[in-house]
């Protein structure tokens, strides 16, 4: 039996089937091994899919052998293949890390359920990315959301519970908005397949429902991707979730939401005149700038590192949306590349913070004083990733910001160049807060760290830090894939 043509289905089904198996095993070591195998298999499949797409172009897979508008179609194009690699890759790195990390943060009896939830979340995120069907996006969005709520609530602090509840409310409102948007589109086009929808929407005479659908989808997805000012759920959720969960979510969840936004904007609404008639670009630009400045400014005043970097995530989402608002190939290239680069950078930071939690017992500014001496390698890693957040040359963050600047220049908007640089200064400020505490202060007497970072946590974190550096120097994978994906999306507009 030849598995190659079935890779798109297996991409989601492998983690999805591994999840109930972990429940049947009910034993944390076996569950861990199974989850490890499944997540690595998912990563290998995503890499193979990426290669296949780069070689032959878009892959379409009809589930149940029902042709596209009647059945559900899986559709892997350059953009989704790229996002798949990011999600599956981060999962493959975070999972080995999580074993030691949850040891202190999650009650022992629940460990196997942690892996179940992790796998479900992975399957959900992959399912959103790979599907070519609007309603299927919603279903898998809910798979990933529900498992995310549980993962966050497994945090040891009681505030994790409330953070999870708030996310549940906000997330469900967002998902319902998305359903309303999909419903309106369905009522106007009679189809749920995204590509089919895109083709038929051009012929829709009455554009008011399409406008409303655009509004509902934008608001709903923005809730999910924590676009300022709809970001309130994010800082608490990231701050109180178990470290492995923060790392995985920070690197993937909001990025997949960005992907969904791109998918709807360019593959569905792209064909309609609606998009051209609305001041969407200006609105996006304003929100992006507001997010970049406000969230970064709030980040400076945080007293807990996890919260600090969570607000920084909200700010960084602003850059991604900024690139999108240019509505040009180079802007999209910057967005997609930043999606990847920021994903691995933030993943690395939260993994390192997890090590800090393990040794120092927390990540408040008071606890990390003098961390440079106590945990030199970990501190160094955080600083490297911090440089990437700022956008210092030689790091991944620089590459995507550079393309963002180029895109702004291409539009002849000098003031934007100035604003991007100015907002990077805010990033300098919040990264400096860590540097100051870790290297220029003496450890507090009342904070006693214990133990060392186990290699199973240190190594995966180091891998991501190294990746942050590597993709700052070799841009052929990130920028190459991103520009080809951007070209594909812009093609849809014509």
């Amino acid at each position: 039996m030849n598995l190659a043509p079935h890779l798109p289905a297996l991409q989601v089904v492998v983690p999805l089937m591994a999840a109930p198996l972990t429940v049947l095993l009910r034993q944390r070591d076996l569950a861990y091994v199974l989850a490890l195998i499944a997540s690595w298999a998912a990563f290998i499949i995503s890499a193979l899919l990426w290669l296949q797409v780069e070689a032959t172009g878009t892959i379409s897979y009809a589930i149940g052998s029902w042709p596209a508008p009647w059945g559900i179609e899986y559709r892997v194009d350059r953009l989704s293949a790229f996002v798949l690699v990011l999600v599956a890759g981060v999962a493959a790195v975070v999972l080995p890390y999580s074993r030691a990390s949850i040891e202190t943060e999650v009650p022992r009896r629940q460990h196997y359920l942690f892996y179940t939830m992790f796998l479900l979340c992975l399957a959900g995120l992959l399912g959103i990315t790979i599907t070519g069907d609007a309603f299927n996006i919603f279903v898998f969005l809910e798979v990933s959301s529900l498992s995310t709520y549980v993962l966050i609530a497994l945090g040891r602090d009681r505030r994790a519970l409330f953070a999870s509840y708030q996310y549940l409310i906000m997330g469900t409102i967002g998902a319902t908005f998305i359903v309303i948007g999909i419903g309106l589109l369905y009522l106007m086009t009679g189809t749920l397949n995204l590509a089919d929808m895109g083709r038929r929407i051009a012929a829709v005479q009455n554009t008011r429902p399409v406008l409303a659908a655009l509004a509902f989808l934008t608001v709903g997805i923005s809730l999910k991707l924590a676009l300022f000012p709809l970001h309130q759920w994010l800082p608490n959720a990231y701050a109180f979730a178990p470290s492995a969960v923060s790392a995985f979510l920070a690197a993937t969840a909001t990025k997949v939401a960005v992907y969904v936004l791109l998918r709807f904007y360019y593959s569905v609404f792209g064909q309609s005149q609606v998009f051209a008639r609305l001041p969407m670009q200006e609105a996006m630009l304003l929100l992006a700038l507001a997010g970049m400045f406000a969230a970064s400014a709030i980040a400076i005043f945080q007293t807990d590192l996890k919260r600090l970097f969570a607000y920084s995530s909200v700010g960084q989402v602003g850059y991604i949306i900024l690139g999108l608002s240019f509505n040009s190939t180079s802007g999209l290239t910057a967005s997609i590349a930043h999606l990847f680069n920021h994903g691995i950078t933030k993943g690395a930071i939260f993994m390192l913070l997890g090590c800090v939690v393990l040794v120092m017992g927390g990540t408040s500014m008071a606890r990390v004083q003098g961390l440079g001496k106590r945990m030199p390698l970990t501190s160094l890693g955080i600083v490297v990733c911090g440089l990437s957040l700022i956008g210092v040359p030689g790091t991944a963050g620089f590459v995507s910001k550079w393309y963002l600047l180029l895109a702004a220049l291409e539009k002849g908007q000098w003031w934007l160049v100035f604003l991007i640089v100015a907002s990077s200064l805010l990033a300098v400020a919040y990264v400096w807060r860590f540097v100051e505490a870790a290297y220029f202060r003496e450890p507090r007497k009342d904070v006693v760290g214990s133990g060392a970072v186990p290699w199973s946590m240190g190594l995966p974190a180091a891998v991501l830090v190294a990746a942050t550096g590597y993709f700052g120097l070799d841009t052929s994978f990130t920028v190459g894939s991103a520009s080809r994906a951007a070209a594909l999306l812009m093609e849809g507009l014509r």
Partner: protein, 141 residues
């Protein structure tokens, strides 16, 4: 409620019928309204009813917790297993046509097993949630 004779007798009489009705809804879903989800809910309701009348512990003895937890997982596995069976027999994922030499019968077979999977998971989950909530209450008192 545990000692009320009338309730107990009525429950004894009713529960088999509820179970039967669940099966009817399950297998008649092809012809009338109903299907795996509804059947699973009714099935779970029958056992919850039993637990309310006879007490949680006795219900646990009839339908033990590990079984319930396994049911949640097995249902999903049955469903996905049908999909994989389609793969193995040379079709796409969730392809029912290949499940039988006659494609239409293959569809019937696929739908049947898929509905079984749904019912298993749904009833397992509903029961488990009920057990969980009931447990919390008991220790709280």
């Amino acid at each position: 409620m545990k000692n009320d004779l009338v309730l107990r007798v009525v429950a004894k009489l009713l529960i088999p019928f509820i179970l039967l009705f669940a099966l009817y809804v399950q297998f008649h879903g092809d012809f009338g309204p109903g299907g795996g989800f509804q059947a699973g809910v009714i099935l779970a309701a029958a056992i919850i009813f039993y637990a309310l009348i006879y007490g949680l512990d006795r219900a646990r003895r009839v339908v033990p917790e590990p079984l319930v937890e396994s049911m949640m997982a097995i249902g999903v596995l049955i469903y996905a297993g049908v999909g994989v069976a389609g793969l193995v027999l040379g079709g796409n994922f969730l392809d029912y046509f290949v499940l039988d030499p006659n494609p239409v019968l293959g569809q019937h077979r696929g739908i049947f097993w898929v509905e079984v999977g749904v019912a298993t998971t749904v009833s397992g989950v509903m029961l488990k949630i009920f057990y969980m909530f009931a447990d919390r209450g008991k220790v709280d008192e």
